[in-house]
Every structure is written in C-alpha cells, then in structure tokens.
Amino acid sequence: MRLKTFKNGVHPGHNKSRTASSAIVDIPLSDTIVLPLSQHLGKPATPLKNKGDEVSVGELVCEAAGLISANIHSPVAGKIKRIIQKPLPGGRMADHMEITVDHEKTAEHRWEKHDVDVASLDRDAVVKTLAAAGIVGMGGATFPTHVKFSPPSTAKIDVLVVNGAECEPYLTCDHRLMLEKTREIMDTLTILQHAYNFSQIIIGIENNKPDAILAFEAVLQDYGHLPASVEPLQVKYPQGAEKMLIHATTGRVVPAGALPLEVGVIVSNVATLYAIYEAFYLDKPLIDRVLTVTGSGISEAKNVRTVVGTPFDTVAEFCGGVDERTNKVVVGGPMMGVAVPTLDYSVAKGTSGMVFLTGIDIPDESPCIKCGKCVEVCPMNLMPLRLAAYAKAGKFADAKALHLADCFECGSCAFGCPAKIQLVAWIRYAKNYVRVKGI
C-alpha cells in the first residue's frame, strides 16, 4: 500500500540512527539554572518573584500575560539570584531568572502519580489545567496549548491528529517518547477524547520509526473506547508541519492564512501530549523536557531529559563534551533550528534538540539559474526564487502579493537549491519587513 503523505517536499539525510535506540536519560541538576521568561509564542510572562526570593519545585514564578502567553514554573527549589537580560537563541533579548539551586530541597520533592477521574473532566477543566501547567507546543513552535484547545464555540472540531512525524533530521526525542511513554500518551488521549468527543484520533508517524508504529498498535486495543488509529506516513520533509500532516492524515486542506480549526482539526505533538499527561496525573507543570543531543561534534549523543533553564554547557558536558572541531551548534533540528554563536543559552520548553556540527562551511552563493527546484519542492506551492528576488530588490509589496505570508520557513527550498542561495533568510527578511512596516 502506498503510504500517505503531502505534495512536494525534500529528502534530507535522516542522521537519526546514532540516538534512535538510546533510552532517555536524566541530566543531573546544575548548581544554577537560567530560566528564560519568554519560552512561548506570544507575550512574555510576568515575573511574580524578585531577586532574593525563595522558590520551591513547581512553584509559579511567572504568570501568563494576556490571552496568548503561558505560565512559567520553577523546576527547582532554591533562591533567585537575579533577573537579567540575555539573548535567546536567534538573538532576541529576553529576561532570564537565574536561580541558585538548593539540591537538598529539590531532591525532597516527589511528583506522585494519582488517579484521575476522567469522567469529571470537561473542556473547561482541561483548558484550565493546561493553562495552569504552562504547557506549550513542544514540537518547536511553542504556541500555548490551552489556546489551541480553546476553539471558538462556532468551530466544530472532530479530528485530533497526534504529531509523531518527527521529520527533522537528527532528532529522536519524540521517537523515544513514543516508545517509552506510549501508554501515558494514550491516557492523555483518553482525557482529551472525553472532553472534546472527537470522531477520529489519528496518530501520524513517519515510516522510518516502525517500532513506534508497532508500540501504538500494540496498545490500541487496550484503549478500545478511543476512535484512534495509527497512520504510518511516507518519510519526507516537512511531514510534521501542521498543514502537511493534516493533509496527509485527513485529506483536508487548511485554507491559506487560516488555522487548523477551520477544517475541524487540532494537531498536537507527542511531547506536548506527554506533558499534558504529567499535568493531570502528577499535577506537574511543564518544567522539564526531552531533547536530542547529537551531531558529529558531541562525544556521546543522547536523548536527555532535563529541566528548563539548564545551561547548554551542562547539557554538553553531560554528553561527554564538545569536540574542538565543532563549528556550528543548532538549537532544534537542522532544517528549522537556530544556530547559536556560543553555548551561553539555556534549555527552554521548545528546545527539541541540540545538534553539534563539524566541518560546516558557508557555501558560496551562485547566481540563480532559475532551475525551479525551489518551486518544485515547496510544500506550500510557493515560488521561493521570486520571493527572494523581490526581497533582494526591496519590492516587499510584490512579495506579499505572491503569498509571502504562507511561507512557514521549513527550508525545503534552500535545502534543494543548487546555487546554495539562502532563500529562507531572504524570505524571512521580507516577512519581517512587511510585519514591521505594515506593508
């Protein structure tokens, strides 16, 4: 049978084998954590604590500021050393809360599992718990999850798509979660099913993770009350992009510029679903996550669980240290991740991986020969070469008319470009210009 997928796209090398079979391990707490106060899409959270204040494990330290924002909790017990401004990966400045960790007190805290009366949970209860726990989309976009699960009453939501595609090369953290936390993810689906009464729950997994597909198929019968099914997907980038995944699994097309709820679908990443499990069954807010640490520049590639705020240095050290040949470090996957100049950053809710690359050189751009490869691979059917040409020429209104806003920067065009033109960088430049200048 032909596996389901979307149109166009590219086939970057997977590079997943180094960590695909290594079980998730915990990183021991560092002595200081540096908690970014802007870990989500939307408004930065408002600090509730000041320099010198004591905090306990799981205590709310920053409150969501407005509709699209998310709570932030302290992952440790300790004392706030200071609040400083530092750049996030990508360069934007944000407040960070430096906390001196009290190891003894932190170790005392246990997250006890308890039963959940699923029957008592309605939408409001679910949304309240998600908001309180500060859960955001952990695939990388970090959109506040409680907002995603609060569709307007006019929207008729009938399908939940579970995103287990993990189409980014190198990353295996979702893969490991699907293997190690299969039942927990299914328990979350049970809660969501009760509150939202979906007519279909589709678990989309790329076919290069057959063990994850089997793991879900094996437990499906224990969850017979769920309208759930597993959909093995063709291995193609960007299969895990929301619109592409919805098209592949349901055949529905999300209109340009619209949200998935317009076609009755909510998409949720497996890591997010696991965080929701912890919020309900352990009363644990989102204070840690699993990320893949890999690439030829790291000694021991691993899937690690660590608290948000863990300095990158600590992560690298835990993985055996950075090879001196490393000349590029990517936060997230290599297709959509962000390069950082140093390791002076810390893990956030959306940090799905750290890829240490060696021997990367910046390829010389050749002139565009108008081969049309970028047009051929664009999953949104855009014309990247024309968007980039307009951006270079400063014709931002023309770029906008060519559906500039529909580009979600997956990088397929620049990946395929034989002239090595930085198409995404030019398109992003035009998008920023249009946004800032209000063209």
Partner: protein, 331 residues
C-alpha cells in the same frame, strides 16, 4: 567552556543542504551529450573534434576575458555552463564550417548572449543559439554547406541525398523527397554536426528528465505539438508535407528540445510555464518549416520563446496550498 573564541558559525536555517550544485548539473548535461558527440565524429570525421575543441575554447576564453574586463572572478569558466554553450554551438553547425567561424560564433554567443546580460542566470536568450543566429546571418553560405555522412551503419538504407548531403528537411521542403525514418533515428543523414543522431539525443535527454534536470512538461509539449501539427498538415496534403514522425526526428528538434529549449536559465521555471513554452515553440517550428523561408525552424522557435519567457514566468503563478477561490474571496 568549549565555545571557540571566535564563536560558532551563524547562518540562517536550513543548516543542511542537498548535494545539488550548478556545476554538477552542467557536467551531467555534458556527459549525457557525449554519445551524440561520439556519433557525430563517426559520421563526419575527425575534423569535427577540432571544431568541438575550438568551440569550447572560444566560449571559455571569451567568458574569462569578459569577466576580467568587468573585474569579476574569471573562475566561473569552470562551472561548465560556458563549455555547454561551446559544445552545443558546434553541434548545431554544418560539418564543413571553418574553425574560425566556430570561434567567432562561440565568442558572440558568450559575449552578446550571456555576459552582456550579467553572466550566468541573467541572460534572456540561449547563448549557443545567439552564436548560431549570428553566424547564419553573417555567413549564410558557409552555414548551409552540408556534407554527406560516413556510412557508419551498413544496415541502414541509402540516404536520399547521399551524394550532396543536403539535409532531409531541405530535401523535403524543396524537392518533396522524404528521408527514411530509420536514417533519421540513427542520424545517418546530412545535417548539423550533432543534431542528426536522434536516438542518442533522446536517450541522453530522457536521462536528464529522470534526474529532473530537464522538465518533461517542456519536452513533451514541444515534441507533441510538432508531431500533432506536422501530422495534421500531412493529412491535408501528404505529397507536399512530410509526416508527423518525419517532423519529429528530422533537423535539430531533438537537440533543441532536450538540450536547448530546456536550458534552465532561458525557459520557464514552472511546469505550466514550460508547457506553454513548448507549445509555442512547437507551433513556430512547424510554421517555419512548412511556410517560412528556411527549411528548419528550431533555432528561431527557441529564441522567440526565450524572449517571452520572462513574461511567462511573471504571469504564471502557482496556486498556493490552501489558496481560496477568487470568487469566494470576493464574496
């Protein structure tokens, strides 16, 4: 700890790229042309080797000199694109042509056809065809002096013009005698150096389509239009007009369709645009061949469609994934 003092490399995503390169594309094109080049040497003798060398050298030297004068790096001559121009130019010339004309044609093709526009990627017209168009305007006699091919394949029938070496298209147009299809397919006919052996050009071209260097939409629409329109006229008057298949396999059509019309820089970058280009060029070929002053129309068909390619590229916009209907948007 481990951060290098000068920091890690900072570039925009994506941080990984495919191995595709312009150089790679160009050299693959050259390699797929080699079987046809070998056949041309067999048919028209060792002299054409000299012509190939002169043509390629002329293109490379002109590009290097022009770029040096413009104070640009001259090493672009290694990207393979100028070499293709020189090679293709020679393939479109009669075997009797003098090396001096070949050099001149290559120089004009690269200078007027490519560097004047700003070099690779900027040119509107196919540089090899600009060179050929210049030569056929400036030296019409030399450009129409043909030679009979060597009898490489003894199983093939005697060519209708084995003695004069007139091209099959000229014989068809002016004498209403039609060359056999087998001769056309293998190329044992009079004609330009590299255009006669249709079968090797088709095989090379199909490979380029398979590796997605050449757009099938363009080739199919171009060849299809020539075949259907040719067949239509043949139906109307079989005595005066050759068959659709004859139209397909004679002259420079295969070389033009697979290797010249499909030039990435000068043809549309969308599939739809390529199809429009192909249909337009196909109509022009048949009209020129049957009703124009020249027996062959491939060169002009491509050059004319090159001229409208920027307009095609601007007016054909893809339907974006999830784009709503215009009517729906209006209401």
């Amino acid at each position: 700890m481990s951060s290098p003092t000068e920091g890690f490399v900072l570039t925009s995503s994506p941080h990984t790229q495919s191995r595709a390169s312009i150089k790679g594309i160009m050299y693959v094109v050259i390699i797929t042309l080699l079987p046809a080049v070998v056949m041309s040497v067999l048919f028209f003798g060792a002299r054409v080797i000299l012509l190939y060398v002169v043509g390629i050298a002329g293109a490379l030297v002109t590009e290097a000199v022009t770029r040096l004068v413009r104070k640009r790096s001259w090493t672009t001559i290694y990207d393979g694109s100028a070499a293709i121009t020189g090679l293709l130019l020679v393939m479109t010339l009669p075997p009797t042509v003098s090396p001096v004309l070949v050099f001149l044609g290559a120089a004009v093709g690269i200078f007027i056809g490519k560097e004047v526009f700003g070099g690779l990627g900027q040119n509107v017209f196919n540089p090899a065809l600009v060179g050929r168009a210049f030569l056929s305007a400036a030296y019409p006699v030399q450009l129409t002096t043909w030679a009979a091919p060597n009898r490489v394949f003894s199983f093939l029938p005697q060519s209708v013009d084995a003695t004069t070496g007139a091209t099959p298209l000229a014989s068809a147009k002016f004498e209403q005698t039609f060359e056999s299809l087998l001769n056309l397919l293998f190329g044992q006919t009079g004609g330009s150096i590299g255009e006669t052996t249709a079968i090797f050009l088709i095989l090379g071209g199909l490979f380029l389509i398979a590796v997605r260097i050449v757009k099938w939409e363009l080739v199919l629409s171009y060849l299809g239009t020539v075949f259907l329109l040719g067949a239509l006229f043949h139906l109307i008057n079989p005595a005066a007009y050759p068959s659709g298949l004859f139209q397909l396999f004679s002259g420079g059509l295969m070389l033009g369709a697979f290797y010249m019309a499909s030039d990435m820089v000068t043809s549309p970058f969308t599939g739809t645009g390529s199809a429009i280009f192909g249909v337009g060029a196909g109509v022009l070929v048949v009209v020129i061949r049957l009703f124009g002053g020249f027996p062959e129309g491939v060169m002009y068909s491509i050059l004319l469609m090159n001229a409208v390619t920027p307009i095609i590229n601007r007016s054909i916009t893809n339907r974006v994934f999830g784009q709503r209907n215009e009517e729906k948007e209006a209401t």
